[in-house]
C-alpha cells in the first residue's frame, strides 16, 4: 500500500489534481505524492483520502490518468498526472 512517507530511491512522483467540490473539501487542487513502484490509481485515492478533508471523498471516485478516464487498478508510473473527478455535470 502506498503512503506519503515512502521515500525510497525507487519511489515514483505523481501529480494529483482535485476539482470542484473535492478541491473545496481538501482546500487545495494539486497534491504531489511519492508512491512505491507498482502503485495503482487506487493507492493514489487512498493517500488523498488520508489527507485532512480527504475522508469526505468517496472511496471509489471517478479517476483519470494522463487526461483519460481510468479504473482504480490502473498502474501509476513516474510523472503521471492523476485526477480525482467529482460527478460530472456538463451540458
Amino acid at each position: 500500500m502506498a503512503t506519503m512517507t515512502n521515500t525510497t530511491t525507487s519511489s515514483i512522483s505523481v501529480r494529483v489534481l482535485l476539482f470542484a467540490s473535492y478541491a473545496e473539501r481538501l482546500g487545495r487542487d494539486v497534491v504531489e505524492l511519492k508512491l512505491p513502484p507498482g502503485a495503482t490509481v487506487g493507492d493514489v485515492v487512498f493517500a488523498i483520502r488520508a489527507l485532512p478533508g480527504g475522508g469526505e471523498l468517496p472511496d471509489r471516485p471517478l479517476t483519470a490518468r494522463n487526461l483519460e478516464h481510468c479504473a482504480l487498478d490502473a498502474p501509476v508510473v513516474a510523472g503521471d498526472e492523476i485526477a480525482i473527478l467529482p460527478p460530472m455535470a456538463g451540458g
Binding site: L17, F19, A20, L67, E68, P87, M88, A89, G91
Partner: protein, 144 residues
C-alpha cells in the same frame, strides 16, 4: 471539431462546420441554462473544467461518433459564468441521411454529459450555492 470556450456559443457556425453538398440532414442540440433545477430557482451558474482532459474527451467523443456513423460532428461547451438562457453546450451532426444525424447528435450529448470533466456550481435565489451532482436520483429527474 470540439472545443471549450468562455465566450458565448453561437450554434450557427457549428452547424455550418458539418454542412457539405452530399449531406442532406443536420441534427443539432443546444443546452441552455434554465431558471430552475429540482424545484429551486436558479439565478446563474459557473462551469469549471479539467480543461486539457475536457478538450481531449470532447475530441474523443466526436471521433467515436464519426466512426460509428457516416457523419461529421461539432461540439462546443461553455465554461465560466453563465446567465439564464445562455448556451451551455451545442452539438451538430451532419449526414447524408437523417437517421445517422439524429443518432450521432444524441450520442454526443449523452456521452458529453457523463464523460467530460466539467462541473457546475449553481447559485440559487435563496442565496445558497451548490455543486450539481447528476448521479443523485433527485437530480437525474431534474436534468435537462
Amino acid at each position: 471539431m470540439a472545443y471549450l470556450t468562455t465566450l458565448p456559443i453561437d450554434a450557427a457556425p457549428l452547424v455550418r462546420a458539418v454542412e457539405a453538398p452530399d449531406r442532406g440532414g443536420i441534427a443539432s442540440f443546444v443546452g441552455l441554462v434554465r431558471n430552475q433545477h429540482g424545484g429551486r430557482a436558479v439565478l446563474r451558474l459557473e462551469y469549471s473544467a479539467y480543461a486539457p482532459m475536457a478538450e481531449a474527451e470532447c475530441a474523443r467523443i466526436v471521433a467515436e461518433a464519426e466512426s460509428r456513423w457516416p457523419v461529421r460532428v461539432s461540439l462546443a461547451h461553455r465554461l465560466g459564468a453563465l446567465e439564464i438562457g445562455d448556451v451551455a453546450v451545442a452539438v451538430a451532426a451532419g449526414a447524408a441521411h437523417r437517421d445517422a444525424a439524429f443518432a450521432a447528435c444524441r450520442y454526443v450529448i449523452e456521452e458529453a454529459k457523463t464523460r467530460v470533466p466539467i462541473w457546475k456550481k449553481e447559485f440559487y435565489a435563496d442565496g445558497t450555492v451548490s455543486w450539481v451532482d447528476p448521479t443523485r436520483a433527485a437530480e437525474r429527474s431534474a436534468a435537462s
